[in-house]
């Protein structure tokens, strides 16, 4: 591909894949930093391990696949690793992160042919694979213990948690709000009571709740996402449609049966929904290209999340929903294209203007 034909245009907006990926990483930095602060050293170790593994595996795969090593610089592997680190329990042992990165990059990406070729979002593929293979480790959520607070693990202790396989005391872990609601729901408790006890909107938005790194501070995730929107690195269609896809049905369900269903605010502020809507479903490779296709894709993600959260067996649904809609992306791209200039939506040419008035000099046509 290094041969460049000298064809027009001879100008460029100077964008590049690596700039896009690095901007996304930058947008993730505030919420990651906050998450690391909240969950302490183990979270930092896990994040580092996952990212480094992802990049190392990418290098290996490029090598084996005979692709130019300079593609390492596009930053896509770093971003995949980063997203995995943000969506697993922050106190999980190192091999959860490393294993996830290995799976995502080798099977989720390079088995399909490398960057741009994969059908499924590699980070979500890894997350779901981990959830199925290691359900215990993947659902032990550390309670927030900010660095420096009394009970927080020290550096050495953290090393033991991340790398030494030291057991984490039960008192340090808890269920996520979603998990809690799910359990209570099966015990036939009233959703309103459970939420009243267990869920505080402020805490959820600010991020002082149990969860993965990226699921905690909705505020910082939103901030990063808005920045990307402003830079036009992501487009609004998928996030907006996805959030509406969750909010509208939950509003409806909550109005009809408040004892069974939590309201839209609970859903919007819990779990990885915002992270999913702004950073995961917007992955260019695995989401559709046209505007209407993007809207359908986003709405579909939202709807599947709502369904899984309320009636499915897993409390967290973003990963499944995104993968499900990823599978539909080629179809959406095929059938929901933009309308072409001068053509009707189906592709037929527009009708010429008032055919009766067209011929001015009948003899000359």
């Amino acid at each position: 591909m290094s041969h460049q034909p000298a064809s027009a245009p001879h100008a460029h907006d100077r964008s590049s894949v690596s700039r896009i990926m690095l901007h996304v990483c930058l947008a993730l930095t505030p919420c990651t930093a906050f998450g690391i602060y909240i969950f302490g050293w183990p979270a930092l170790f896990l994040w580092l391990t996952t990212c480094v593994t992802a990049v190392a595996i990418e290098a290996l795969c490029l090598r084996v696949g005979g692709q130019p090593l300079r593609r390492l610089l596009d930053g896509s592997a770093l971003l995949t690793g980063w997203l995995i680190a943000l969506s697993i329990p922050p106190w999980a042992p190192w091999w959860i992160g490393a294993g996830g990165a290995l799976f995502a990059i080798s099977i989720g990406k390079h088995l399909y042919g490398g960057i741009g070729q994969n059908l499924f979002n590699p980070a979500m593929l890894a997350r779901i694979a981990l959830l199925i293979a290691f359900p215990v480790q993947m659902t032990s959520w550390a309670l927030p213990l900010p660095i420096g607070s009394e009970q927080a693990p020290g550096f050495a202790e953290a090393l033991a948690i991340s790398f030494g396989g030291a057991p984490v005391a039960d008192s340090f872990t808890g269920a996520t709000a979603l998990g809690h609601l799910r359990t209570s729901f099966t015990l036939h408790q009233d959703a309103r009571d459970v939420l009243a006890q267990d869920f505080s909107l402020i805490e959820a938005v600010v991020g002082r709740t149990a969860g993965s790194l990226g699921e905690t501070s909705e505020l910082l995730v939103l901030l990063g996402g808005l920045w990307l929107l402003a830079l036009r690195i992501i487009s609004w269609e998928v996030p907006v449609a996805m959030l509406l896809g969750v909010a509208l049905p939950s509003l409806l369900a909550n109005l009809v049966a408040p004892e069974h269903y939590a309201g839209p605010l609970f859903h919007l502020s819990s779990g990885g929904l915002l992270l999913g809507a702004l950073f995961i479903a917007t992955d260019p490779v695995t989401s559709p290209a046209g505007r209407s296709a993007k809207l359908v894709f986003g709405a579909g993600c939202g709807l599947v999340i709502f369904i899984i959260r309320n009636w499915g067996t897993f409390p967290e649904a973003v990963g499944f929903a995104v993968l499900f809609m990823n599978a539909l992306t080629p179809l959406l791209d095929r059938y929901l294209r933009p309308r072409v200039y001068g053509r009707l939506p189906g592709g037929k040419p527009l009708q010429a203007a008032s055919p009766t008035a067209r011929v001015k000099q009948p003899g000359k046509t």
Binding site: A6, P9, A11, D13, S16, D333, A353, K364
Partner: protein
């Protein structure tokens, strides 16, 4: 990207780089020693030479005649002697030669006697259109479609609006800007002549909002007349594309596979309108034009009025020469312009600019795989899916590429301009279009051959039948004859 204020979808905002060349008035380039005039400077068939080697020619004399309906004649752009008829370097990236006529200038620059036309407004529209055809005028905005053909086509339809394209959306280029500032009256006069030819209801002059002086000049010039509006359009590439401009001005889209006349609009570039005015008022054929000479390597960028046929090198020299070896030499703008193999290439009628760009101005990053980011889809003013078109074209699946919009592509390059993977999308489209064309003409040829075969078959059968009938007739009276005459 979405423009809330404009009906035009997509588009891009490349850096304009227009300041330096638009600040200076149009200068006149000196007479060269030799003029190189290619026989095809227009869309359509090559013009046919009507002079012989060694002939003396005068400025404005016809030297090659239009070969068919869609073609344009070529005139001598100065007086002198025909020294060669044959291959000259043509403006084409391959550097391949095309047929042309070389004139050695005698320095007198003497005009041929032109018959000064009477008041054109009192003449028949078709006679005026013929005059435009004889003047060899083509679309000077770069489209190079013979202007008279457009006028004659337009005269057969109901044209509501004559749309003057002064948007000049390509970066660097400022010829139309300067023309409108300096020759506003002639342009308005030309527009009114076109209106007269087409019996159009109104004239709209569309100018991008980054040319306030041109807007003011055109407003002032059109003041005395009714039914002329100057419309300010947002600076957006490719606003200068006829389809997009019509959409912006009328809010309507030209039907696919149709012409702009079918929405009652005829678009002419302001430079073309000026040339038409010169032809109708003064009988001058198209032998010169204004060219923007610019780019980071040009010492003193400015607009230059030059004869057609002058080597690019002369213009570069006239503008102070090159300050460094250009990374790319272009004819036209950076978005749709053509790479020149060298500076010996002559200026042709459709040359809007000569750009000598330095290596900071031509980004040439290696292409990497498509990440399906859909920026190209958002940037496409035609609503196509460039990523899919390119993927299919690369796989030689041309029908697939057509299916995703190749047949509606205007090759504007907006998609490639924003592609973060630096994929040469337009290159793939050109390749696929070329292949499609080749395939279509091969099919036509096959069809034709098949037809010939069938006709021959039919003829043979008929002959056979006729012979058999004749034989049978012959046989009747002499039933005993068993052997037929061969």
């Amino acid at each position: 990207m979405f423009n809330l204020l404009s009906p035009v979808r997509g588009g891009v905002h490349p850096a304009s780089h227009k300041d330096r060349s638009s600040a200076l008035t149009i200068a006149t380039a000196p007479l060269p020693e030799r003029l190189y005039l290619p026989l095809r400077q227009h869309a359509g068939a090559d013009a046919l030479p009507v002079v012989r080697l060694g002939d003396k020619v005068l400025k404005g004399q016809l030297i090659a005649a239009a070969a068919s309906e869609v073609s344009a004649p070529v005139h001598a752009s100065s007086s002198g002697r025909v020294v060669a008829i044959g291959p000259v370097t043509a403006p084409h990236p391959s550097g391949l030669a095309a047929n042309g006529i070389v004139i050695e200038c005698d320095g007198d620059d003497r005009w041929i006697d032109v018959d000064l036309p009477s008041d054109p407004f009192s003449q028949e529209p078709m006679a005026l259109a013929d005059r435009v055809a004889q003047a060899g005028i083509v679309g000077l905005g770069g489209a190079i479609f013979p202007a008279a053909v457009k006028l004659k086509q337009g005269a057969r339809h109901e044209i509501k609006t004559v749309l003057l394209n002064g948007s000049e959306c390509e970066p660097y280029l400022t010829t139309d800007d300067r023309l409108m500032r300096e020759r506003a009256e002639q342009i308005v006069d030309g527009a009114r002549l076109i209106q007269h030819i087409l019996r159009a209801y109104r004239i709209v002059i569309a100018i991008e909002d980054n040319k306030p002086e041109a807007i003011a000049a055109m407003r002032a010039a059109s003041e005395p007349y009714g039914a002329i509006e100057v419309e300010v359009v947002p600076a957006l590439y490719p606003m200068g594309s006829a389809k997009q401009l019509i959409q912006e001005i009328t809010g309507r889209e030209v039907p696919a596979e149709g012409r702009s006349t079918s929405v009652g609009v005829l678009v002419h570039n302001v430079g073309t309108v000026f040339a038409i005015q010169q032809a109708l008022r003064y009988g001058r054929p198209l032998i010169s034009r204004v060219v923007t000479v610019a780019g980071g390597c040009v010492a003193r960028p400015r607009n230059v009025e030059t004869r057609v046929g002058v080597p690019v090198q002369n213009l570069l020299d006239f503008c102070g020469g090159l300050t460094e070896v250009p990374a790319q030499l272009l004819m036209g703008g950076p978005m749709m312009g053509m790479v020149l193999p060298n500076a010996q290439v002559p200026i042709i009628k459709g040359a809007t600019g000569v750009l000598a760009l330095n290596r900071h101005e031509v980004p040439r990053d290696d292409a990497s795989p498509c990440i399906r980011c859909a920026r190209c889809v958002e940037a496409c003013p035609m609503g196509l899916m460039p990523l899919e078109m390119a993927a299919h074209a690369r796989a030689d699946s041309f029908d697939g590429a057509d299916d995703y919009g190749l047949k509606d592509c205007i090759l504007c390059g907006s998609c490639a301009y924003v592609c973060p993977s630096h994929i040469p999308l337009v290159h793939y489209f050109q390749y696929a279009m070329g292949e499609q064309d080749a395939r279509r003409s091969a099919e036509k040829k096959n069809d034709y051959t098949r037809q010939l075969m069938e006709q021959r078959q039919l003829r043979l059968e008929q002959e056979e039948a006729a012979r058999a009938a004749a034989k049978a007739k012959k046989r009747k009276p002499t039933a005993t004859t068993t052997e037929a005459a061969p």
